[in-house]
């Protein structure tokens, strides 16, 4: 056993422990801000695993896209909707958690059995290591050109869709003064459009178109 392979084993153990405990924290912690930061830690650990798998380009893309964009987006969403609300108890929640835990455990055992009993064709051809970036570029511009272009169209569509969905385009008019009501921030209280039970007294805002 050489020093390099020992180092690799230790690195794998540390990174996988970070991934497992981090993901458990993401799911189980009551404070969602801690969950979001732990999610960033999980993404970074997965990028480290990619580095161990001779994939430096995908590791860099993981750090840039997941940690830099998705995690920041999730933190912004938490900041925008982080209202302290007491979630009402629903009956049978513990039983539901137990049942779904059983289902997930069964799924895990199934996957474990598939992983450990399938005769994988290892060792395959030796990995190309640092030339992976060049090979990915060749793939993206020859045989994966159509999915590459479709991905750009998908990103454009999702960008426009996110803007259309998230902008506030319901204009309200104040009954008392007749002015347009200000396009309030999300935290400012305003009449919800789809309230579950109609309020008893009429509110001061009426929606126009």
């Amino acid at each position: 056993m050489t020093i390099a392979s020992t180092t690799q084993g230790i690195c794998f153990l540390i990174l996988s422990a970070a991934v497992v405990f981090g993901s458990l924290g993401v799911v189980l912690l009551p404070n969602i801000v801690y969950s979001a930061f732990l999610l960033g830690g999980v993404f970074l650990s997965v990028a480290g695993l990619y580095l161990m798998l001779n994939a430096s380009f995908v590791a860099a893309a993981q750090v840039l896209v997941y940690v830099g964009a998705v995690n920041v987006l999730i933190l912004f969403a938490i900041m925008l909707v982080n209202k302290k609300e007491a979630m009402a108890d629903i009956p049978g929640l513990a039983l539901r958690r137990l049942l779904s835990g059983g289902v997930c455990l069964g799924l895990f055992l199934l996957l474990l059995r598939v992983d450990l009993t399938t005769p994988w064709a290892v060792p395959g051809p030796s990995p190309i290591g640092d030339d992976a970036t060049v090979r990915i570029g060749i793939h993206l511009f020859t045989d994966y050109l159509l999915p590459f272009e479709l991905a750009s169209v998908l990103l454009l569509m999702s960008m426009i869709g996110a803007i259309v969905l998230a902008r506030r385009d319901v204009f309200s008019v104040d009954i008392v003064t007749g002015d347009d009501a200000d396009q309030a921030l999300i935290e400012k209280s305003r009449t919800p459009l789809l309230i579950e039970t109609p309020p008893a007294e009429p509110t001061a805002l009426e929606t126009r178109r």
Partner: protein, 109 residues
């Protein structure tokens, strides 16, 4: 540069790690009350799939690294999904003033 995969970390270790991560994501997806946490669980599951793709790409398909190309496409789709999902969540929060998944029952009979 020719590199070899170490014998210390077998392929199965990566697959078992991805299975653990995926099942954690499924459990969180089912049991979260907060809608943001549901989106985070989806990201966990996508990362588990990516670990699988990268492990197979390195161990079995070492010369034509098609798994890495697939992982890049999965990362792209995940970014688009996160943006649209959070926009839907903001719109829903603006209309219902809650992020409790149990109260998002507009489409229930």
């Amino acid at each position: 540069m020719m590199t070899t995969n170490s014998i210390d970390v077998p392929l199965q270790a990566y697959l078992v790690l991805a299975a653990i991560l995926f099942c954690t994501g499924v459990w969180g997806l089912i049991n979260s009350r907060n809608a943001v946490r549901v989106l985070m669980s989806i990201e966990l599951m996508l990362n588990a799939v990516n670990i699988n793709l990268m492990a197979f790409s390195s161990y079995i398909d070492g010369q034509l690294i098609r798994g890495q190309v697939f992982a890049i496409f999965v990362i792209t789709v995940a970014a688009a999904e996160a943006a649209v999902g959070l926009a839907i969540l903001l719109s829903l929060y603006r209309n219902r003033e809650t992020v409790d998944m149990e109260r998002f029952n507009l489409l229930r009979w």
